[in-house]
Each structure stands twice: as C-alpha cells, then as structure tokens.
Symmetry: C2
Subunit: 204 residues, 2 copies
C-alpha cells in the first residue's frame, strides 16, 4: 500500500439529532478513522485518561498554544477552555489516518477556515417536530431548556450552506450508511489516490 | 421526500479490471441508479429490446441528433455509430434518478466537457502484472490482443488526473463498497440536499 494522507471530517448537528450514536458507531466500525482529541484546561474527571479522552494542560500552556496559532478552534465553557490542536491532527493525517472532529457550527467553521480541505458534514433531524419529540423523550431537559435547544438548533441549521454533505437522520441505519459512505468515498478521491495511480502507471 | 435532481456517474476502466461485474452489482443493489441507454445505428440483435438495451435509430436520425448537439459523446465502431443522448439523461436526472455511464476514457472526457458536474470514477487494476494475469486467465484473447489491451490500458490510465475517484479493484468486495460509497455520498451533497434543508429550516 502506498502511503497517503488522511482526511479531516468535521461533523455538526443540533442537539438531539443522534450525532453521538452515529459517530461512535462510525469510529468503531471503520479502521483508520479516529476522533480528534481536544486539549483542555479543566481537570481530569475520574476515569479520564490523558491522550485518550483529552490532552490536559494548564492555562499557561493553553495560552501559549493559542498565541502561536496552534489551535484550529478553541472555546471557553464555564471558565474552562477546550481547543482542537492542529499539530496532533497533522501528525495523524501524515500517517494516513482520518480524523473526525465532532464540533458545533462556530468551531466547525473556524476549522474550515484553517483547513479548507476538511470535509464538512451536517446531520439534520427529519423535521422540527421530530427533533422536539426526541428532546422531550430524553427527559433530560426542562421546558425552558427544550425551547432554548430548539432555538439554538435553528441558529445552527442556518449554517448548512457551509457544509459539503447534509445527512438526514430519520432512520438510523440509513443515516449511518450515508455517513460511512462520505468517509469511504473520500478515501478514493483522486488527490489521495494519485501516488497509487502513478505507481501503477510506472509498471506498464 | 423533497424532489431533487439525480447525479451522473461516469465510470471507465481498462479491459480486465472488473468494471462490468462491479457496475451490474451496483445498479441491481441501489435503487434510483440506472445505466445510461445508448443510441445506436446498428440493427437490434436477437433478444435486444428497444429502450432497454439501446435506442435503435436509422443513420439519418443519428446524424440529425449529432447536428443539433444532442449527444454527450458518440463514436463509430465497425461502421455502426453509438451515442449517449443528452435529453434522455436530463429527463432521468429531473426525476431524481442517478444515471451511470460506462464508457472508455475518450467518451468519458467528452461527457465531462458537457456535464462538468458528472462524477468521474476510474477503476484501477491492483498492478500491471495482475491485469495481465486476468486478461490471460479469461482465455478470450490471442497473445497479440493481450499485448494490445495492455498497451491500451496504459494509454487509458494516463487520463486518471481527469477523474474524481480512483478505485483499485484488488478485492472485489472492497472495491464494490468503495464504488457504492461514491454513489451514496453524492446523494448527501449539499446542492442536492439544499431543498430538504430549506424546508427543515422553515419548520422552526
């Protein structure tokens, strides 16, 4: 096999669309595809492992990486910062590994700015009513939180024109097959396969 | 389901790469994907059905379509002409049907000129030696014909930079999965899914 570089996939979806289910299945089914590992300033929780769940750093180290432009995107949540480190991803790509970034639209678009080749995937609920039904049936949120999630879903959906693939999660297996196809199809793209084709030509 | 337009897929491969096996399986497995039907001036052979195997026309009708630019590509073989009619394909696309064109590189590039959105797929043998082995094991060709096929394979392979996807057919199932993924992934592309996303947004 001729070495080739991996692809970056960025996936966003409104809360309740089934993104976690789909992406976990994807990463466990497909060889050569891994989740991106975020860097964070928050303390490890019980059971969390450095380099598997997160890269844990202190605030100064985080600042330093921000200053040198080492994050594709970063965000502060409840006083903790979380970032997607560029160098670690580039190392995976160089090994031919595909990297999946599961991030909300704002972060996703920041990544797209810095990595225009990233393949942008948006998961859609089949309808607004169905999204609402799913959020309610989880029983996790108050009425007010559900309203807020729906409002935020609309806000996120407005960014769909910046994504390359839009996948409706009505039936989980159908959506899964679509998602997997996007990853597999990217693996046969010409730029990635060019070394293989050149090698083949040289044999004739 | 919101109406959308179909995609055109053009697939080329050197003789002996396994294209027929893969494309037949693809079209029979995937709903909403059909082979393009060529127009020809040759007489129907026994069992051939108008509008299923070919559109059979007389030379004058063929000339007329050529003159009005109605073919995406056409070719003359042993005094018979064969063409890919544009209008029939556009009708399929308007119905949301995907159309697969199985054509050699020259015709494929002519189609690409006229339909820049066509998704171009090139099937590659795993190696020159394996292609030669497959051609020999078919037992169909003389030594001279095999030499000619290999020379022509090299000629065709030189066009790989014009294709979007390069799929190596080493293992048939792996290649099939790759091929199917290209078709399925195209179905979730943003331009095609845009009406669905707009409809969804309007529900919030």
């Amino acid at each position: 096999m001729i070495p080739h570089t991996g692809n970056v996939f960025v996936i966003s979806a409104p809360s309740g669309t089934g993104k976690s289910t789909l992406t976990s299945r994807l990463v466990s089914n497909l060889e050569g595809l891994i989740f991106s590992i975020s860097t964070t300033t928050r303390a490890p929780r019980e059971g969390e492992v450095e380099g598997r769940d997160y890269f844990f750093v202190d605030p100064d180290a985080f600042d330093h990486t921000v200053a040198e432009g080492g994050f594709l995107e970063w965000v502060e949540v409840y006083g903790n910062r979380y970032g997607t480190g560029r160098d670690w991803i580039l190392q995976q790509l160089a090994k031919g590994v595909d990297v999946l970034l599961d991030i909300e639209t704002t972060g996703a678009l920041a990544v797209q700015e810095r990595m225009p080749d990233a393949i942008m995937i948006f998961l859609l609920p089949p309808s607004a009513a169905e999204l609402e039904r799913r959020l309610r049936s989880r029983g996790k949120d108050s009425e007010e939180q559900i309203e807020m999630r729906l409002k935020y879903a609309r806000h996120e959906l407005e960014f769909f024109p910046r994504y390359d693939h839009l996948i409706v999660n009505g039936d989980l297996d159908v959506a899964y097959r679509q998602l997997e196809s996007v990853v597999l199809a990217a693996r046969s793209r010409r730029p990635r396969m060019e070394p293989t084709a050149r090698q083949l030509l040289s044999e004739f």
